[in-house]
């Protein structure tokens, strides 16, 4: 690799995006060495920050001509290493592509550049009574382009669906620098031909990079009611979730925290949740007002029948927001009760929550490690946090092994190794445990149609012998997470 200061390609990229927006100084590149998966760090060769589709296309073309791998990057909040640079490759960051291009309220669509922050879409729409539904915990900092790449979820996806259900169309730059519009064009119910948008969303930067996204926007519901319930243990809380879901209630969200998670959240955020309980559920019901009142009452009755200790309703909007802030700050709050922790993300059938949590607890006991749970219970998306102390020899490796075993428990119950954090670099080696070689081969047929040379985000998602010898990394919270400004999971 040439020395960075003398990189002959720097000037070529700078000619496209402007000198200030082509980064190749070692000190500046450090910012881009990793995403939310902090255990892996790779310094890219050059980072470019284009402002337009044309600039992105020119950068991709130049990289492609020189055989440089390309890693797209939004806000860098991903938890699976999807934006981890590739040695000697370039990173295309979308941080300058922050324009809202079109708001079409009558058709409930909005067209934005990929660097627009998720929450800013809803803020922009709020005066009109509309919002954008997918709400990853990092929504105050993560970008819509990253959401498209990861098919981001969030607490309220239980009722409203994930990014893939809300991203209708996109302008994409492919590996040869060509620009194509995919998805349903305005005036089409569905794209004619193959659903390229459907397969692009969640492709983790392996198929190309988005430069415009058309999202569906929703009318704000008439009413929302939040319910907080505490339980003796996760058995009762899990049973309550199963009872609520199977009763036919479709809550906007149901989140579960176990005793350890409550302890951490209380310590970090000051919510007045009781510490002497085994689990808590935080639930939103929304819709037309009468439906909300009846549904909330029915859910409360089911919680009580399942053994709830106490049911609370927030007194006002401020308290409601505080409750949700507590939930969204949960991962980072773990720092209050453990020096280190490993964030896991897996999915199980919703009826098996209590049983799987018991198995996970057993894995923790066997390894001598504590495991906290704070997760999207309504859709069975677990986030076990394996707590450990890096200073204790062998404990980190033990935590990683337990985190891996948790994924195998998810698979044993017919689940998935990731519900929303993505495969990225982190879980490429587990993908082969969920899918057969033929399944993965078929996915690669899709990849090579979009990117025959594989220059977009190589060494991600698909298991390779090269990758699967590596060790997973550590999670260190961003300061904004500790304050509840932004969160994960």
């Amino acid at each position: 690799m040439p020395t960075l200061a003398a990189d002959p390609l720097h000037d070529r990229f700078a000619a496209i995006v402007g000198a200030r927006n082509a980064v190749s100084a070692a000190s500046e590149l450090r910012t881009y060495e990793c995403d939310g998966l902090l255990g892996y760090r790779i310094r890219p060769r050059i980072v470019v920050l284009p402002a337009t589709t044309e600039e992105v296309a020119a950068c991709v073309q130049l990289a492609s001509e020189h055989g440089l791998p390309i890693v797209p990057r939004g806000a860098g909040t991903g938890l699976s290493g999807g934006s981890l640079p590739v040695e000697g490759g370039i990173v295309i960051g979308t941080s300058r592509m922050t324009r809202i291009l079109e708001v079409d309220l009558p058709n409930r669509r909005m067209r934005v550049q990929p660097g627009v922050i998720n929450l800013d879409i809803s803020k922009h729409l709020a005066p009109h009574g509309y919002y954008y539904a997918p709400d990853p915990s990092s929504q105050s900092v993560c970008t819509i382009g990253g959401n498209v790449a990861e098919n981001s979820g969030g607490a309220h996806c239980l009722k409203y669906g994930f990014t893939v259900n809300h991203a209708l169309a996109a302008r994409v730059v492919l590996s040869d620098g060509s620009v194509l519009d995919i998805g349903a064009r305005d005036g089409e119910a569905d794209a004619r031909g193959y659903d390229l948008m459907g397969v692009f969303v969640g492709s983790e930067g392996l198929l190309g990079i988005v430069t415009e996204v058309v999202v569906r926007i929703l009318r704000k519901p008439q009413a929302t009611r939040t319910i907080f319930g505490t339980f003796p243990s996760t058995d009762e809380a899990g049973a309550a979730v199963s009872a609520i879901i199977s009763s036919g209630i479709v809550p906007a969200a149901i989140e579960m925290c176990d005793q350890l998670a409550i302890e951490a959240i209380v310590a970090a955020t000051g919510v007045d949740w009781p510490l002497d309980v085994g689990a808590a559920l935080l639930m939103d019901v929304d819709g037309v007002s009468v439906e909300v009142e009846h549904t909330a009452d029915a859910a409360i009755a089911l919680m009580r029948a399942a053994g709830a200790i106490e049911i609370r309703a927030p007194r006002d909007d401020a308290e409601r927001l505080l409750m949700w802030k507590g939930r969204k700050a949960a991962f980072a709050a773990m720092g209050r009760i453990s020096p280190n922790y490993h964030v896991q993300d897996g999915v199980i059938p919703r009826k098996d929550i209590a049983a799987v949590l018991r198995e996970i607890a057993q894995l923790g006991r066997d390894a001598g490690l504590r495991i906290a749970n704070v997760f999207h219970a309504g859709d069975g998306n677990l986030h076990p946090l394996v707590l450990y102390d890096q200073r204790v020899p062998g404990e980190e490796a033990k935590a990683e092994a337990v985190a891996g075993d948790i994924l195998r428990v998810c698979l044993k119950y017919g689940g998935s190794v990731t519900g929303e954090h993505g495969v990225g670099r982190d879980k490429a080696c587990y993908l082969g445990e969920q899918f057969s070689a033929d399944d993965l081969d078929t996915m690669k047929l899709v990849r090579s149609a979009f990117d025959p040379q594989g220059i977009f985000n190589p060494d991600k998602v698909f298991p390779t012998p090269h990758l699967c010898g590596d060790r997973p990394g550590l999670y260190v919270p961003h300061p904004a997470e500790l304050t509840g400004e932004a969160g994960r999971g």
């Binding site: 098919n151 979820g153 893939v164 492919l174 004619r192 069975g380 998935s416 929303e420 899709v446």
Partner: protein
Amino acid sequence: MIETPSIAGVMPERTLVPADRRELAAIVRDLYAAGKTFAFVGGGTELDLGNAPRAIDTVVRTTALDRVIDYSPEDQTITVEAGMRIAALDAVLAQHDQLLPIDTGDRQNATIGGAIATNAFGARRHRYGSIKDLIVGIEFVRPDGVTAHGGGKVVKNVAGFDLPKLMVGSLGTLGGIASATFRVFPKPADTRAVLVRTSPASAFFDACMQDRSLEPSAVAHHPAQGGIVLTFAGLEASVEQQLAHLATLATTHAITVAALDRRALEMLAAAESAIRCSGAWRWTVSTNPVGARATVAPPVATTAEIGYPTFGVTLASAGDDVSIDALAATRGGAIVFRAMPQRARGRIDAWGEPPPSFPLMRALKANFDPKGLCNPGRFVGGL
């Protein structure tokens, strides 16, 4: 002996009916190895959709693949084989007061695999979304006979590329669907529908769609009935409140709202089914919600889904060649012909101009079906 059906005007030589999914894969593998062209057929209710295939030697009929593989009512997911009829699936789910909100013209005959392959939808899309929003997993046999899976059995999953989405609406050109897993829904405690005597272009209809006190589960324009059918589903108290609110709103706009009883609804469903299943000419007009409301219905039988998100589709039948040629000439990309007389085939492309992303679609097809044997030529742009 099953009769071999004609596919968009082309008569295949024979029909094979695999007894199970393993046999489905074996048949496809053998056909592909032998260089034979083939097409997958379920209930055969949409065989006129698309252009005439270049050739079809063999029809692979999936109707014997009609088993429920896994149904977990508590978890609200179901995995079924592709040949299961929609009505049969409805019956299985009804035992647990659940439903899969897929609307097709002919529930008795249409299969779940066919509904996926043709991306079938109707008025309930307003609340539940389309098959893309309901499907969580798929098993399919690639044109080369290799069985592949995507997605899974849980309702949330981002592991691997979203192959289920890719198969929805692909009209069997990337392989044959063997089974699929869906998210299912509780049957609402109460469902009631009303006919609102107004047009989709009216201020009243716009007011209804903007009103946060109203959350209809289905929105459909029935010109023959003289209005819009709004369906409300949910708890009884909620349905009642919404109907009362609608009535008040209607009074201020001097609009008539008529409750539809079970018999009226059955007649409406039958009329809609007839429009979707019969007629020498059938086409769908796809537009945005605003356009859907403004579109003047063609002078033929129509039914239209005019709710959100972002769709508004009219299904029509009858019509004469002259007016249809004019329609096709000015259609842009928004009209797809679902049936046309043999005499029109070749003259009118059922799909219209391929979309800008067509080069990618061609690359995908070439990767999945390098020999071009699987339903060749029937889909968009001759895929």
